[in-house]
């Protein structure tokens, strides 16, 4: 398809894809390369990277292998990012579709709720949710998803608002189609692409949100999360700054990759809008 060809014409998009595949490879290979529990003690604490061939990235304050935590952390980040994004997009599409299609009081009510979620700073809401429901992997993932749905909802609503008055939708109505048929068969296939592309932005933010939570020791302490490691490294920042530096680079690379892929998708699917 042309879209795929267009995607590969952009060096940035290709670079993003490669980086993303690297991260995914790290996540998949984590169990093979580091079969032991990454949070188990492995060696002497605070070894510098490249000082010991067994620990290419060194060890942290408790003597755990940093490289193992990085590899396993890739799994966590991608998992949380992916699932939270899916939750957010799903809720967002449903809310946005009904608000945009029906308008009137349905729109009013749904938009008030969306506005409520957007007026409250989303990190604060995340804190509240974590305070109430605890910090397990499941609750954190759902919380991040719940905090992220307003933006996809607004986007979907905007798309539906503009599409529902298009002549091909009106034509569908004159042909006798029912509302649900119009929403699912006529409008949604046209509204979906920008929302799917936006999913990359949602995922980038989700990964950043979770790592911030972990940094504050409010995420699941029993998993090897990159944010956790950064938080630990804060105590030894003066000398062994690498403990915080390395997982941060990992987060940066992953979020960068996701963003580049999203941008590449956007340019590939909307060639008209690429004002280059």
């Amino acid at each position: 398809m042309d879209a795929i060809k267009r995607y590969f014409r952009s060096p940035a998009a290709v670079a993003g894809l490669i980086l993303l595949l690297v991260v995914i490879a790290m996540a998949i290979s984590a169990s093979f390369l580091y079969p032991r529990d990454p949070l188990a003690l492995a060696g002497r604490p605070l070894l510098w990277p490249f000082s010991n061939p067994h620990f290419p990235l060194g060890t942290d304050n408790s003597g755990r292998d940093i490289a193992a935590q990085i590899f396993h952390g890739a799994r966590i980040s991608l998992l949380i990012g992916g699932v939270a994004t899916a939750i957010a997009i799903l809720i967002g599409i449903v809310v946005g579709a009904f608000a945009g299609f029906y308008g009137g009081w349905v729109d009013n009510v749904l938009m008030r709720i969306t506005e409520a979620f957007q007026t409250l700073p989303n990190f604060l809401l995340l804190l509240v949710l974590v305070a109430v429901f605890g910090s397990t992997l499941t609750t954190v993932t759902i919380a991040v998803g719940v905090v992220s749905w307003p933006a996809p909802a607004r986007l979907t609503r905007a798309e539906f608002l503009s599409l529902r008055n298009r002549e091909f939708v009106q034509a569908g109505r004159t042909l006798g189609m029912k509302d649900l048929q119009l929403i699912l068969g006529e409008i949604l296939p046209n509204a979906l692409p920008p929302v799917i592309v936006y999913a990359s932005v949602v995922m980038a933010v989700a990964i950043l949100l979770e790592s911030a939570l972990a940094f504050l020791h409010l995420s699941d302490p029993n998993v090897a999360s990159w944010g956790n490691l950064i938080g630990l490294g804060r105590d030894v920042l003066r000398v062994q700054w690498y403990v915080s530096a390395i997982p941060g680079v990992a987060i940066l690379v992953t979020v960068l990759a996701v963003s580049l892929v999203g941008q590449g998708l956007n340019d590939a699917l909307n060639p008209r809008l690429k004002r280059r």
Partner: protein, 543 residues
């Protein structure tokens, strides 16, 4: 017109398009000239390169498009080779331009007076007070109502015609020797168009400027041109004095374009059935918008108590300008909008009071063809599916519906094997045919056509109209035909109703309304059709 020196002389101009465009050159070997105190009309359809010509003279081509070869001599200076600083000195002061869409061509965040004053501040040293005085004088010159208020107004506060007048004032501020007008009246109402054309002609005569007027409408050419240049696919196919080209066109394309301009006299009336298939009585629709807790509500009465009858097998034309309510009425007929009052009787049933559920079934009897060929087809469905959608929704098995769709393709003059393509692979005219096929798939008794040819090129318009007339006889269709263009209505309608501000001001047999308009508005409308005199004279010749 003897040895008036040419202000602009274009010789062998070529303009290259970037790779990936539908042809290599926008303009090939174009040679023309404009003398002072004359109006040169450049005529062509979309893709002919006429707008590119205008942009080339101003050297305002888009980034990837380049001038390749030829010269453009303006008062001895070659515009192709002139440095940018020189071009800036000429733009606005010696060569000025007016554009097609007055709404988007003016900066929405600055006042009209401000934007006109800018021309002075860029090219002259006049003081603030002097500039203000000149701006007001210009606005009075272009006959804008309340020049003082207009100068302080923002573009969105003026009407389309007033905005275009402001643009003309801006262009003529420094008395340019050459005025380029790129389709300045295309986006305006017929009556406004007539006024603006008159204004341009008057100002040109007074200032003895040279005008290069770009248009796609031969009626406009007949109205104001001194000389004509006909363009097709980037080349000039014919040029000469207007009278000569109009009366004695040499090139086949020119003849085709002139023939495609619908004449203003209706064809011989057909025999109409006595039985009425559609009866519209007292339809009204009022919109209430804005207001806060009941105060300051804006009431717009879009349709006021409209009553019409459509005989079986006949075509009823509803003619009006934008804001007349004709589109609202059309949408009321197919219940896309719910009228506030009145009844629509079709096949013995009242469609206004019908409940939604039953309406979905009964809607098959009255179908609609839409205006925009690009927006009326869902880009994600194949053409055959689009045509088959209606029958499938009403219970026809898929395979049968698709087979019938292919037959309909043949009926509307499209290749049935193309039915598996997506809409973006078809041209505008072909897409309208698909829309027609879709509407006919449910075998409706009445077809409502909402400006079906307005977005098409003139030559394509003629084809689609011919198709409609053909199908009308073959299938015994009754058609309600909505349009803003009287000439189109004259072509195909048996009965005509003229709408203004939501009400019907006149209606009757097409021939009678055109030959003998009773209402003042109808008379004004008929008088505003560009090239009316030419069209009437042209119509007496055999087609």
């Amino acid at each position: 017109m003897s040895e008036i020196a040419a202000i602009l002389s274009v010789e062998g101009l070529g303009v290259r398009l970037p790779a990936g465009a539908d042809r290599a050159y926008a303009l090939t070997d174009v040679s023309l000239s404009v003398a002072s105190n004359e109006i040169l009309c450049i005529v062509g359809e979309s893709g002919s390169g006429k707008s590119m010509m205008a942009n080339a003279v101003m050297r305002l081509l888009p980034n990837e498009v380049r001038i390749e070869g030829g010269r453009m001599l303006f008062e001895g200076c070659d515009l192709c080779a002139a440095p940018e600083a020189e071009m800036r000195r000429l733009r606005g002061a010696e060569i000025a331009m007016i554009f097609q869409e007055p709404m988007t061509a003016l900066n929405p965040l600055r006042t009209i007076g401000d934007q006109i004053a800018e021309v002075f501040s860029v090219h002259t040293d006049l003081s603030r007070a002097e500039i203000t005085g000149r701006v007001l004088a210009l606005l009075a010159d272009v006959r804008i109502p309340d020049p003082n208020g207009a100068a302080k107004a923002y573009p969105h506060e003026l009407s389309g015609g007033q905005r275009q007048r402001a643009m003309i004032a801006m262009a003529l501020a420094l008395d340019p020797k050459l005025l380029i007008a790129d389709e300045p009246t295309t986006a305006l109402d017929v009556t406004t168009q007539a006024q603006i054309l008159k204004l341009i002609r008057e100002l040109q005569g007074r200032r003895k400027a040279a005008v290069m007027f770009i248009t796609h409408d031969f009626g406009v050419v007949a109205e104001i041109a001194d000389r004509v240049v006909v363009m097709q696919q980037g080349r000039i196919v014919e040029q000469g004095p207007a009278a000569q080209v109009l009366d004695n066109p040499q090139h086949a394309y020119t003849r085709q374009l002139i023939a495609a301009v619908p004449p203003l006299t209706a064809p011989a009336p057909r025999r109409l059935s006595q039985e009425d298939i559609l009866t519209i009585s007292g339809i009204s629709k009022t919109y209430r918008s804005g207001g806060f807790l009941g105060r300051g509500v804006r009431i717009t009465r879009a349709v006021k108590d409209v009553s019409l009858k459509l005989p079986k097998g006949a075509t009823l034309g509803i003619v009006g300008e934008s804001g007349s309510g004709k589109s609202t009425l059309a949408r009321c007929l197919v219940r896309l909008i719910d009228p506030d009052a009145g009844s629509i009787m079709l096949l013995g049933r009242d469609f206004v009071t019908m409940p939604r559920a039953r309406l979905r079934e009964e809607t098959r009897h009255i179908q609609m063809v839409f205006q925009d060929p690009f927006a009326s087809l869902n880009p994600r469905h194949k053409a055959a599916e689009l045509v088959a959608q209606g029958p499938i929704v009403h219970g026809t098995p898929r395979a049968t519906a698709l087979a019938e769709a292919k037959e309909l393709f043949a009926l509307v003059g499209l290749d049935p094997s193309a039915a598996d393509r997506f809409p973006h692979e078809f041209s505008g005219g072909q897409r309208q045919r698909i829309g027609l096929a879709r509407a006919l798939a449910l075998k409706p008794a009445v077809l409502v056509a909402d400006e079906p040819v307005s977005a098409l090129d003139v030559s394509v318009q003629a084809q689609v109209l011919k198709l409609l007339a053909d199908l009308r006889t073959r299938l015994g269709l009754s058609i309600v035909f909505i349009t803003h263009d009287l000439r189109v209505a004259a072509q195909i309608c048996d009965l005509v109703a003229v709408m203004k501000d939501g009400a019907i001001v006149e209606h009757g047999l097409a021939g009678e309304v055109f030959a003998n308009p009773q209402h003042a508005y109808t008379q004004a409308l008929l008088a505003s059709v560009p090239g009316g005199a030419f069209a009437r004279q042209h119509a007496t010749e055999p087609a």
